[in-house]
């Protein structure tokens, strides 16, 4: 119900923006910034990049606003734009990277161990560092695999939605998620300690 009302509000705001009320777009920015930041961070794995992605997504959205179909949901629309921006950023960044997790022979990484579900308290103290390790493991994926995995695993998108967001077939999206999971498990396998 609230989503429907928000959707109506979004549409009214968009009409106002297209009629010349630029400031009205600020309402949409405030309303959707948190969601965009969350997905941008999960895809890029970097706060600064995520902030840039949010700004870039809203800028692109504003420029394309005339082409926005009134039947669509603005939240979903701008969310997809943010995914594309984040994907572009990851791909761009990949070009500059010279090393990846698992290829760096980082001794600290090799010593860290992922806490097992049945792990004791002494192992849980490492949990703060585990996030960083997993983030590094995510960085080992291709941009498409990482994005597909994030959308499936953390954003609870269906493979159809992932395909639509990435502009690929649902089956290709499913395969991208599958490859990502395989790679992540391989990366994290040495860190896992059996109870």
């Amino acid at each position: 119900m609230s989503n429907v009302r928000m959707d109506k509000n979004d549409h009214a705001t968009i009409q106002a923006v297209l009629a010349g009320d630029k400031e009205a777009y600020g309402t949409l920015v405030v309303r959707h910034s948190q969601t965009l930041f969350r997905v941008a961070f999960r895809i890029t794995g970097n706060e600064a990049d995520a902030d840039d992605v949010v700004q870039e997504a809203f800028l692109r959205g504003y420029r394309k606003l005339e082409g926005f179909e009134s039947r669509a949901n603005f939240g979903t629309w701008i969310y997809r734009i943010a995914i594309h921006c984040a994907l572009d950023r990851v791909r761009h960044r990949r070009g500059d990277e010279t090393s990846r997790v698992g290829e760096s022979n980082d001794p600290e990484l090799d010593q860290l161990q992922v806490a097992d579900q049945a792990a004791g308290p002494e192992r849980l103290v490492l949990s703060g560092e585990i996030g960083a390790i997993q983030q590094a493991a995510l960085s080992s994926l291709t941009a498409t695999e990482r994005t597909a995995f994030v959308l499936r695993h953390m954003e609870d998108c269906t493979t159809a939605e992932i395909g639509a967001a990435l502009g690929i077939e649902p089956n290709a999206a499913k395969q991208a998620v599958f490859r990502a999971v395989q790679k992540l498990r391989r990366r994290l396998a040495p860190l896992r300690v059996a109870t």
Partner: protein
């Protein structure tokens, strides 16, 4: 037959096409059940990656940073009547242009279809004749009807007699035109018959006291003496024969 890693992953994400069969297999196969548990554990561990929180003013800051970069959509707003006027003028101009184009196209098409002026032959008498015949036939038809009415007119009925004067005047004018045409075409039979008819109609039309019993009787005598009704019928028959139609409907009565 064990489950593949892909099938297990679909099961974890709730996208398996055959959930019941997978669950049944996991319950029966210890090896697959262990693999499935490991997969669940690994994926659950990956849930630890959480986005940092952003405070409530985050959206405002994002807006402040991008607002100066955004142009305004359609800054100028025209009054409704101005917009309506321009729209109306545009429609009117479009319509006028369409009409002008259609007119010009029509003219061009007409000129192309029209044969050169030098090839036009003057209208021959044969071309004009059918029109005269039709008019003459109509005139003779009316005249015959008038003569039949005159022949059977009730001399004591003023209601029947009075309209005949008006009809006679109308027929007299038409008869003079027909007689002139007949004279030009050098048709003595037609001219003679129309002369007889003219005389009778002139008397009926110009009777000083109007038509009454006495004048009707006099006209009937003249009509019978000249055989006007017979002549008219013969002429009509001749015209019908010329037109290829031998049937002449009788207007009633006999001579």
């Amino acid at each position: 037959m064990h489950l593949t890693e892909e099938e297990m992953m679909e099961q974890v994400y709730g996208e398996s096409e055959n959930t019941t069969a997978v669950e049944r297999h996991l319950a029966a196969c210890r090896e697959c059940a262990n693999s499935f548990s490991e997969l669940q554990r690994d994926l659950a561990a990956l849930n630890r990656v959480e986005a940092p929180t952003r405070d409530i003013g985050y959206g405002e800051r994002v807006w402040a940073s991008i607002a100066p970069l955004l142009p305004v959509y359609r800054t100028e707003k025209r009054p409704w009547w101005t917009a309506g006027l321009w729209k109306g003028l545009a429609y009117a101009a479009a319509c006028a242009l369409l009409v002008a184009c259609a007119f010009y196209a029509g003219r061009v098409w007409e000129q192309k279809k029209q044969p050169p002026v030098a090839h036009i032959q003057p209208a021959s008498p044969q071309v004009k004749q059918p029109i005269v015949v039709v008019v003459l036939d109509d005139h003779l038809d009316r005249s015959e009807r008038f003569l039949v009415e005159l022949k059977h007119a009730d001399m004591d009925s003023a209601a029947m007699v009075s309209p005949m004067g008006d009809e006679a005047r109308s027929l007299l004018a038409a008869n003079r035109v027909a007689r002139k045409d007949a004279a030009q075409e050098n048709d003595p039979d037609l001219t003679t018959a129309l002369d007889h008819l003219d005389r009778l109609l002139a008397e009926a039309a110009n009777e000083p006291g109007g038509l009454n019993g006495a004048t009707i009787a006099k006209l009937q005598d003249e009509m019978n003496a000249d055989g006007v009704l017979f002549e008219v019928r013969v002429l009509r028959s001749r015209i019908a024969h010329r037109n290829g139609d031998g049937n002449i409907p009788s207007k009633g009565g006999t001579i």
